[in-house]
Amino acid sequence: MKARHKRFGFLLAGLVVLAAAAYLVFNALGNNLSYFFSPTEVAEHKAPENHVFRLGGLVEPGTLERGEKLTVHFKVTDNHHTVKVAYTGILPDLFKEGQGVIAQGRMGPDGVFVAEEVLAKHDENYMPPEVADALEKGHQKGIEAMARENKPL
């Protein structure tokens, strides 16, 4: 019985030490485990200025321009700041205006982010197209209704 308690004690102590160590390590690593920087972080100069990093956000609707050959220009936004991006290459299936995107590259001297690779980031929502349409319509109606309600004021 005694040996069993002792083993259990050792095990518990070991796990506590391990948990503390893990906590410290992750605290220290902090943002370094993040896969990308947001446009706000770029604006605050938190992203590396002289070497390659990843920029993540939404493709701002209405900013996608297809240039000659396979070059595209678009703006990446997080609704606070935007960054202009230039990219030459094949875009993934889910790349669309208003969709999440992660671009790898570096900042050019003219403030345009030159991407070498563009990945699409999607959300955790899955539904049939009819439902998506209905939701979209519902959303539009809601906006209209809100506009109507606000008018008499």
Partner: protein
Amino acid sequence: MSGRIFNIYRFSSPATFYPLAGKIARIAAWIALLLLAVGLYMSFFVAPTDYKQGEGYRIIFIHVPAAWMSMFIYLVMAFWAGIGLVFNTRLSSMMAQALAPTGAIMTFIALWTGAFWGKPMWGAWWVWDARLTSELILFFLYIGFIALQGAIDDNRRADRAGAVLLLVGVVNIPIIYFSVKWWNTLHQGASVSIKNGSSMSTIMLQAMLVMTFAFWAYSIAVSLYRVRSIILEREKDARWVSELPEVGR
């Protein structure tokens, strides 16, 4: 062992657990077959096309169940290994050993299907983001455990070393689970969570849950069949083994 006082201890003896495991495994195998048939039918013919990812999203019906099982099996293994370490029960260490290959396969399936899903949707087979990397570490933990158990000849010492590895590796499980919340990752957030419910349409969620239970039943069946072999290997000199009807004379 005083079997009359503590009834649960009766099943911690390999001799009594051996036939019980066989019975449960057989039932679980039938449940797994049934659920797999229903789940696959739902995955392809009942669940509708996704509004954004078209038919490509159907990979979710194996990707998520496999990823859940990969984490769940690890926790169960660590639990049994911990019990074995503290109470010195032979059977619980055997259970941990029996679960390892199935857990490794589930992890591999999650990684493989993830790659085949990431390529068309994200544009990359693999990225080193926190979710993908921590799941890969889980795979190495399984492989490491299996290799460690295989490398040590003395069963008792192998069990103890394996248990320590498993318990240390438990830190990785919350990291996998919460990685998409703690850090910016390419991998999207959880579609199903206890706190926020589900962000999938009901029929898709139902198909995914049926597949999850199918994978669950499969894992139970396979690991219990495997633990029967492990029991026989380790207890080969015991009298009850030599008296088994399946042992030819």
